[in-house]
Amino acid sequence: MKVKLENLSKRWGKVVGVEGINLDINDGEFVVFLGPSGCGKTTTLLMVAGIYKPSGGIIRFDGRVVNEVGPKDRNIGMVFQSYALYPHMTVMQNISYPLRLMKTPKSEMIERSQRVADMMGIGELMDRRPAFLSGGQQQRVALGRALVKEPELLLFDEPLSNLDARLRLSMRSEIKRLQIDLGITSIYVTHDQVEAMTMADRIAVMKDGQLHAYDTPTEVYDRPRTLFIARFVGNPPMNITEVDVSQTNGAYHASSEGLELVIPADRGEKAAAKGSVMMGIRPEDIMIDSEGIPGEVFGVEPLGRDHLIDVKIGDIHYYLLVDPSLNLKSGDRVKLGFNTKKCQFFDKKTERSLLWN
């Protein structure tokens, strides 16, 4: 099912939940709403679910306006952060609940619930109550309950945040695989950028009730549309620093204290028009280079496979990942090379990327 949000807003009195969201979700697509807490991602999801009524704008399912359609008539399945498994019902009763509400004949109800439970690998737990299940099992029951009525749209509200790190990893790929197999259009809310990057076909990045970007994970990572996204996505985060960009003799130069970089024309042209801009460069795009710019190691954090080092050039700190065998220590002098083909430039006022349009 296709979902379309047109200028969607939600306000409570003067408090703005979300403002002017425009979004197109294709049939079978897996879209992640990504943003810090309070950014409006769950509010938007609850409007799609029909639990919140929009204050403005339109929600369309396959072109049909559903603003006034109640959640029970939207044919959606939803997985909650708390799982929301009914504690007084067994696993079987929980999973079959949506079918029971549709007055499905009992034998069909049991058969379909059992089939979904088997698919989720919890087929032998049908008589248990939720309180006697592990977190991962509860998660599967919640998924089963969302899937049993074969919905046209699946909604996930931070479903993995209550699981431990290892289980989260395996459930992540399991949910993704399931979604591909079933081909159900899905919206997944999370504040975890790794979940967003790994699962999404497209990521809608939100902040303060507004949509900052709606791009593929690669675009979100390689060409973030706003300074906020540049800072929010990526771990360790992107280095951001203020530079002056100018054009001399047909070449573009970005300079700040102790730093002088030649940048490709396609990236530098718009920045040069602004003069003073914010430059972003990811830690993996800075490397030790004997031909590079001199600096001093300020701190070293061993991460196992790499060391994250903090190098000071002038008064500005740059973070980069280096080979642990280099055995760098605080105070060491190093020279840094910058992969300027991956430089980002942002307008200082609007904080918008100068690489787009």
């Binding site: 609850l46 679910a49 029909g50 639990i51 109640g70 959640p71 029970k72 939207r74 959606i76 399945g77 939803m78 909650f80 952060q81 708390s82 799982y83 929301a84 498994l85 009914y86 504690p87 007084h88 609940y97 949506p98 029971r100 509400l101 549709m102 939720p130 309180a131 509860q138 309950r145 009525k149 909604l155």
Partner: protein, 337 residues
């Protein structure tokens, strides 16, 4: 000192060689016990003074034949004057079945229609509307309980009185629905039940609405997304989740209705006619404390009251054991994952 004490208690395997630390630990233990009893003492004194002693006196009275005719001459406290005659008299009373029937009818009808039914309906209603409006609406239902009984009943008497004073008659009379007579006399049970029910509903209302509001919202959202209408969500999710508060209100209010009589006393005094609305507790009052009949039968009245006390204690035991009332008070029995 404290540290030593705790190791002493825990380390049973190493008996202390000298008596001194043992003695000091005994003193400390005694002191902490005295502290606990000290804090409990006022409550214990009150309960003994105003519950246990009156109940014992009541029980002894119920075995005697004390009445205004032999007051001052009968030594009711002497076991030689005790017998079970009063109890056999209760069951032999010509109107026994009338009183029992009245009581059952009054308790069950008021409970079903108001103390449980209305309370649950209003609780569900006020938790499904705007929060503040719901709160105000619930507050209004507390008014009958907050109004002094005499004023509350006088108000109802005026509302139901005959033309030209009665408000109901003024509205319904011209429509031909009422004929202008005193409505409490015409429909005594209706008014007894409504008047009591409007007071009683607020108890369940407060308990139910706080229990409903304590249900995590995700459950209700999940039920809606799963395809549940409001009624289905109430039936399959909300009611099972508040089943403990429901049981509590049902049992507690049954007891409360069994023993309350002052509204009936003030409204109909058990009438009109012979015992039309006379319930068990009112019967006990009339026999033991009302001087209108000229002969106050303390002993016989006490026997009627003792039976209510026994039912009450029995119910208290059931609360504690079966419903685990103490746990119920500590935290809402809505089991969360």
């Amino acid at each position: 000192m404290d540290l030593k004490l705790s190791t002493e208690r825990g380390g049973i395997q190493s008996p202390s060689p000298v008596g001194v630390p043992n003695q000091s630990s005994k003193v400390t233990r005694l002191r902490s016990k005295l502290g606990a009893y000290g804090f409990m003492a006022p409550a214990v004194v009150l309960i003994v003074l105003f519950f246990f002693i009156p109940v014992i006196i009541l029980f002894i009275l119920s075995l005697s034949d004390l009445k205004s005719a032999n007051f001052g001459t009968l030594q009711w406290w002497l076991p030689s004057n005790w017998s079970l005659v009063n109890y056999t008299k209760i069951f032999a009373d010509r109107f026994f079945s009338k009183f029992l029937g009245n009581t059952l009818f009054y308790v069950l009808t008021t409970l079903a229609l108001f103390n449980f039914g209305t309370a649950l309906a209003i609780a569900l209603l006020t938790t499904h509307i705007n929060r503040r409006a719901g709160f105000v609406f619930r507050l209004m239902w507390l008014l009958p309980r907050l109004t002094p009984s005499v004023i509350y009943i006088l108000m109802w008497r005026r509302i139901a009185s005959r033309v030209p004073h009665g408000i109901i008659n003024q509205f319904l009379g011209p429509l031909g629905i009422t004929s202008g007579e005193d409505l409490v006399t015409a429909l005594p049970w209706l008014f007894v039940i409504v008047v009591n029910g409007l007071i009683g509903a607020s108890f369940g209302l407060v308990i139910f609405s706080s229990a409903i509001e304590a249900i995590p919202r995700d459950f209700l959202r999940a039920s809606k997304v799963d395809g549940g209408s409001t009624l289905q969500t109430i039936r399959f999710i909300i009611l099972p989740m508040i089943r403990w508060p429901i049981l509590f209100v049902l049992t507690f209010q049954t007891l409360s209705l069994l023993t309350s009589f002052e509204q009936i006393l003030l409204l109909t005094d058990g009438g009109p006619g012979l015992f039309r609305t006379e319930v068990w507790a009112l019967r006990a009052y009339h026999l033991a404390l009302s001087t209108e009949s000229g002969n106050t039968q303390w002993g016989y009245g006490a026997a009627w009251a003792v039976i209510l006390v026994i039912i009450g204690i029995g119910a208290a035991v059931i609360y504690m054991r079966v419903f685990k009332f103490d746990e119920l008070v500590q935290e809402p029995k809505i089991d969360l994952i």
